[in-house]
């Protein structure tokens, strides 16, 4: 059985596999390598995905969702076409949710991998002979990740990673949209969802244009009024100042944790669509006193890297002399009582057992003592986090064990944490005097759905009909036309409405020949309409 690598992005998703020599991207139904992470429902409850759904964001915002990855694992709920989708049903963490999603889709999720690690792996295999230390900055649509890696003698070693799961290109678009509304004294609430999605799209386009041009104009109409707003690069600097500041701290943390000196870094790699922005590159250039490099298409690199990691996992012959060593990205430990002054104790402190950025797999022990006379049991709560107080960390589980009665401090237990390569944590406690052992497995990033739960979810999913592959292109045409309709005014609208009706009636005839012929004409008409929107 072969393993594919999937880059499930906030804005775009890609799939790749290892062909025995190198990673290859797999095109979707309409032949594109990149599929927008958008879904939409049509009137008869069928599902559209990718480009057609993206087009429908503007014409049918109430039936479409994008950026849902951001909400995975949170309590957001989507109501589309009368059906409810609750990511929260499944889990409390994004990674867990991703895994469940994969499983529900009928895939066996082998491993969830770090985006920047994947990117770095793609880069490492790409320029294999090099012996180097580098830093990968991955700024996508919704997440920001930084990793420091080293390559030598066929070893790919991750030194440290850090990130912000709520920072990306979509936040920049959001900021530009807010700025536009303020500049034009528009009220967010006065806009229809259609208009708002249209405005976001215009702002996104402007953002992209500012990556190559010094300035551009955002054109937007709502109801009867039309707005034209000039935006320059220096406006953008100003708008994004605070948001960009947030890039600094994960970068600094990754450098700090890796203990690598800046002068020892051979390269700074940029990955992810939003790193195309000059202001992002400038900031990074300033921080590192050098120009960042990009050798592989920033959109493809993560997917390519996942395919390579899949091949590494199945020990592909071509990669047999490459070993990747990864790290545990956060600190794991237990809660303890701390002695403050003589005989004054305070509860709620965090005792780290596995420190963040330890190479995995890893196993570590700490010895704990009883603090009270005749204490009957020791209860260990297991936490993940970086605060010295457990209340600011995330609780993962609990293990309890009885100890023989004795004076305070006489009894001791060994707490052993074993963290494996798949992110599974095993905690075992041993009472030293009785040798009794208690073990608990915490699959911090794993899902524990029962078979019934999976079956029930599959059944729910079965009710959703997805358009057959042959129809994908036709659906995209219609979606495009509907979006153009939304963006146009007056006579042009009527014209678009009429050609859409005509195309739909031809599709209904199911006569392949005439569909094919008309489709071509339809494409050309759309193209010319697209070129002059106003």
């Amino acid at each position: 059985m072969s393993i594919v690598g999937i880059d499930l992005g906030t804005t775009n998703s890609l799939v790749a596999y290892w062909d025995g020599e190198k990673p290859q991207l797999i095109p979707n139904a309409i032949g594109e390598l990149i599929t927008p992470s958008v879904i939409s429902f049509d009137k008869d409850g069928q599902v559209l995905i990718g480009e057609s759904a993206k087009q429908r964001m503007i014409s049918h915002p109430e039936l479409s969702v994008a950026e849902f990855k951001r909400k995975m694992g949170t309590s957001a709920q989507y109501k589309l076409a009368g059906k409810k989708f609750t990511p929260e049903d499944f889990s409390d963490s994004q990674r867990k949710a991703t895994k469940v999603a994969g499983e529900l889709a009928g895939l066996k999720v082998e491993r969830l991998i770090n985006e920047p690690t994947a990117a770095a792996v793609a880069y490492g295999v790409h320029d294999r002979e090099e012996e180097s230390q580098f830093l990968v900055v991955d700024l996508g649509g919704g997440t920001f990740d930084v990793s420091v890696l080293e390559l030598f003698d066929g070893v790919m070693e991750v030194h440290a990673s850090a990130g912000d799961n709520y920072l990306g290109g979509e936040d920049f678009t959001q900021k530009i949209t807010e700025w536009f509304l303020e500049k034009n004294q528009l009220n967010l609430k006065s806009l229809t969802p259609e208009a708002l999605n249209l405005l976001s799209k215009r702002c996104q386009v402007a953002k992209h244009e500012l990556s190559t041009n010094e300035q551009t104009v955002i054109k937007f109409h709502s109801g009867k009024s039309t707005f034209e707003q000039l935006i320059t690069r220096s406006d953008l600097d100003h708008i994004l100042k605070d948001t960009l500041e947030r890039l600094k701290s994960p970068i600094e943390r990754a450098i700090r944790d890796s203990k690598v000196k800046l002068s020892e870094l051979d390269d700074v790699l940029l990955v992810g669509g939003a790193t195309r922005m000059p202001i992002v590159r400038n900031l990074i250039g300033r921080l590192f006193r050098r120009l960042p490099a990009c050798t592989i298409d920033p959109d493809h690199v993560v997917a390519l890297g996942t395919a390579i990691q899949a091949a590494l996992k199945s020990r592909d012959q071509a990669l047999k002399d490459i070993v990747l060593t990864d790290i545990c990205p956060y600190t794991l430990g237990v809660d303890v009582v701390q002695e403050l002054k003589n005989n004054q104790y305070q509860a709620g402190y965090f005792l780290p057992i596995i420190e963040r950025n330890s190479m995995i797999p890893v196993s570590r022990v700490q010895t704990l003592n009883t603090v009270a006379d005749n204490q009957k049991k020791i209860n260990c709560s297991i936490y993940q986090g970086e605060s010295r107080l457990v209340k600011n960390n995330i609780k993962l589980g609990e293990v309890e064990i009885n100890v023989p009665k004795g004076k305070a401090g006489d009894e001791s237990v060994d707490v052993r944490f074993t963290y494996d390569i798949n992110g599974i944590l095993e905690v075992s406690i041993k009472v030293n005097s009785t040798e009794e052992v208690r073990t608990s497995i915490i699959k911090s990033e794993d899902c524990q759905l029962t078979d019934e739960q999976i079956a029930a979810s599959m059944k729910k999913l079965e009710q959703i009909k997805i358009h057959p592959r042959e129809q994908a292109e036709n659906r995209l045409r219609l979606a495009k036309a509907e979006r153009l309709y939304e963006e146009s005014l007056g006579d042009k609208r009527d014209f678009i409405a009429s050609i859409v009706a005509q195309y739909e009636s031809i599709l209904e005839t199911q006569d392949l020949k005439s569909i094919e012929k008309y489709s071509k004409e339809f494409d050309e008409t759309l193209q010319s309409l697209e070129e002059d929107v106003f």
């Binding site: 070893v155 600094e252 450098i255 700090r256 000196k261 000059p278 400038n282 250039g285 300033r286 921080l287 006193r289 050098r290 120009l291 960042p292 050798t295 298409d297 002399d321 070993v323 060593t325 600190t331 809660d335 303890v336 009582v337 701390q338 403050l340 104790y345 305070q346 509860a347 709620g348 402190y349 965090f350 005792l351 780290p352 057992i353 420190e355 190479m359 797999p361 196993s363 570590r364 022990v365 700490q366 010895t367 704990l368 003592n369 009883t370 603090v371 009270a372 204490q375 049991k377 020791i378 209860n379 260990c380 970086e386 010295r388 107080l389 209340k391 401090g409 001791s412 237990v413 494996d420």
Partner: protein
């Protein structure tokens, strides 16, 4: 087995050789196949790299230290590490001149219209990227610490947020290394002055917004655990509770819980330095 025996090489400070030896063994000690052997190998590798940094100082040191070093779980007191952090320079001694960092020059990196599809690497134009010289860095750090001290010691400026803000937005602070070097020194300063305030029971408290600002700027919260290991719970509590309000832990539920057997997870690196330094001093004294 000490780390060199695990890696099957003679003790050396040649990091490349250490890496080569590690890579060779790693190919037959795959992390997925044999986690225990892998951990032994990876720990030996990390110890060897750490030792290599100090090996050239004194050839005889490694013989004595390696035993302590290769056992990462050993619990050792490390309050001494506090001394390792440079002491805060006194305002009187240092002239308050701002070094002219070249950092603005870096703004030149603009309009990079490189095409992503090309497989070539970007042509790095070294001249465009300014280098900050070591002496600039040192004098900026001295300046920063002295300025901080003088702001604090003068009751007119002590709580002047504007002035503190100016200091923390110095363009030189954009530099990762400078910021890194200041991070613990500034923490040390804040914890010392807050401790003084507590002891002297003064009414003229340091504005919590300034402490908060500094903490956010240096991201101290991300490293509470290691800060605690260097400075102790008390110092961290003092700074954090001033910055974020009384974040202290509750005192209930004490008896039913366990306590740590004494100290913290071995702070490998620092312990090592302390060990080497004491050895060094001992040998010098002889």
């Amino acid at each position: 087995m000490n780390c060199w025996e695990v890696l099957v090489i003679e003790p050396t400070n040649d990091k490349k050789a250490i890496k080569r030896a590690y890579a060779k063994k790693l190919k037959v000690t795959h992390p997925e196949d044999d986690p225990v052997a892998f951990q032994e190998l990876s720990e030996a590798y990390q110890s060897a790299l750490n030792i290599a940094d100090y090996l050239e100082l004194d050839e005889s040191v490694y013989d004595e230290v390696e035993h302590d070093v290769v056992e990462p779980n050993k619990v050792i007191v490390n309050s001494e590490s506090k001394q390792l952090i440079d002491s805060i320079p006194q305002a009187e001694k240092i002239e308050l001149t701002k070094p002219s960092g070249d950092i603005e020059k870096i703004e030149l990196i603009e309009n990079l219209d490189e095409s992503f599809n090309s497989n070539e690497k970007l042509d790095l134009d070294e001249n465009k990227v300014a280098e900050i010289s070591a002496s600039d860095t040192d004098s900026f750090i001295d300046y920063f610490l002295a300025r901080m001290n003088s702001l604090y010691r003068n009751s007119d400026t002590k709580n002047d947020i504007e002035l503190w803000n100016d200091l923390f937005t110095e363009p030189m602070l954009d530099d990762i290394e400078i910021k890194q070097r200041l991070r613990y020194q500034v923490f040390d300063f804040f914890s010392c002055v807050l401790e003084e305030e507590l002891q002297s029971k003064t009414k003229d408290l340091f504005d919590k917004n300034i402490v908060y600002g500094a903490s956010e700027f240096f991201d101290w919260r991300e490293d509470e655990i290691s800060l605690t290991q260097y400075f102790g719970h008390e110092s961290v509590d003092i700074v954090m509770s001033r910055a974020y309000g009384n974040a202290n832990v509750s005192t209930d539920n004490v008896e039913s819980k366990e306590s740590s057997s004494g100290f913290s997870v071995s702070w490998f690196f620092w312990i090592f330095i302390i060990y080497v330094l004491t050895k060094l001093f001992a040998s010098l004294a002889k």
